[in-house]
Amino acid sequence: MRLWSVVCGLWSILGAPALAGTLPDERVDMLYHRYDGGGVTIDGPSILVRKNFADKVSVAANYYVDMVSSASIDVIATASPYEEERTQWSIAADYLSGSSTYSAGFINSEESDYVANTWFAAVTQSMFGDLTTVTMHYKQGANDIYRNISGVRDPGFAQDSKTRTWGVSLSQVITKNMLGSFNFDVISDEGYLNSPYRSVRYVDPTAQNGYSYQAEIYPETRTSNALSTRLAYFLPYRAVIAAWYRYYNDSWGIVGNTGDLTYTQPVGNRWVFAGSVRYYTQTSADFYSDLFPRRDYANFLARDKELASYTAVTLGAIASYAFNVPRAPWIKRAEATVRYDFMTIDYDDFHDVTQPAAVPGTEPLYSLDANIFQAIFSIWF
């Protein structure tokens, strides 16, 4: 059985570094999430609890579930639809000492054919009258990869990989209405980095449709650099406009550019509305091809559409309603939020092989639309 998913980012349990010298708010967040697009449906719950102790220590714990039902184009082309479940738990602690915060944590993610264990540590230092905050973080993950055949683990297949991340971020108060931030990450992987299920296709004149498949082959190392910056501006009538940009490149030849613009508008004391647009584009990996000229054409072969060249646009809308909870004086505030995102992806060099074509490689280009829904209930205590 294939797997879809991942250990989430550390954002939820590390907390924002912008307010060094103070601990994050004590809160509980409950999330229901649902992704539906490209023949894939993934939904499930997540709960995040953060509690502070003695104004010095903050502890956060998260439990997250993905329930996957997949009949994606990759699956339809070369395998059978499948269902899968991934569970993830994580715990993190922050220790506040003067203007420094020390953080550490652990994440475990398990699927039937993939186990990932990741630990991380970070140091945050506030300086210049708390106008500047610098964070340095390191993360290391160990992954065990297996392969399922007809829903049963293949005893003859076991691989592993390691991921390391070094990062530095800086948050800066620019004016009394403007905040800026900067992030730089170097990520290195080594080990088994491809999928035991995915295949590449190549021209095969002896095949009925003119092509055949063989297993993909990836390099065993990958090094990535990602650089991002964000500016948020508080408008005179209590609204915020924020822009985010990221430049990315890696040793596989992928160059990515991401831009995001978000506008947030409170209405009265209880409602907050927000809208966002996100634009993403990337070049393909050096060893990617939709159709290789022949079998074993090169040392490395990939037809993973995430390594193809494409452009994606995501439009988002958020509505939050704040309220008090009667008969629960220990709850300072509660908020109910719904978020909807529509994502559309147009691939430049990934063809839809489910569409017939007289000549291999002339099938229509593949595109994907996805609906992403979230419902969040939060309390602060």
């Binding site: 797997l3 991942v6 980012g9 954002w11 939820s12 349990i13 924002a16 967040d29 999330l31 992704y35 993939y114 186990v115 990932a116 990741t118 300086m127 210049f128 009258g129 708390d130 500047t132 610098v134 973080h137 993360k139 993950g141 992954n143 991340t165 070094w166 990062g167 530095v168 971020s169 108060v173 009394k176 905040l179 931030s181 992030n183 730089f184 990450d185 170097v186 990520i187 290195s188 999928s195 990602a226 991002s228 948020a232 209590r238 609204a239 915020v240 990221r246 990315y248 890696d250 040793s251 907050v272 993403y280 990337q282 995430e306 994606a312 939050s320 939020t337 995102d341 992403i372 969040i376």
Partner: protein, 81 residues
């Protein structure tokens, strides 16, 4: 991989030394006083009003995109077969 790591270590060292030198040698007068930060402290200024949601969306994008990292606190280990 080693070259990138070395470059990153140099960058971190330079930032640390620069910040340390600046903070030690010349006390910088904050140009935004603490009492002027009311707008900056407004929750709507935060990049992640709902960290649980931010984390989820980062995950959605990460498994579909070749790009990764620099989202604010670093991504997680990935098992995207």
């Amino acid at each position: 991989m080693r070259r990138s790591t070395l470059h990153f270590a140099r960058l971190v060292l330079a930032i640390s030394l620069g910040a340390g030198a600046l903070s030690a040698c010349s006390p910088i007068e904050p140009w935004v006083k603490p009492y002027e930060r009311e707008n900056l402290a407004d929750p709507i200024m935060a990049g992640d009003r709902f960290p649980i949601s931010t984390s989820y969306l980062d995950h959605v994008f990460e498994v579909r995109e070749g790009s990764r990292g620099a989202t604010g606190a670093g991504g997680g280990g990935c098992g995207c077969n």
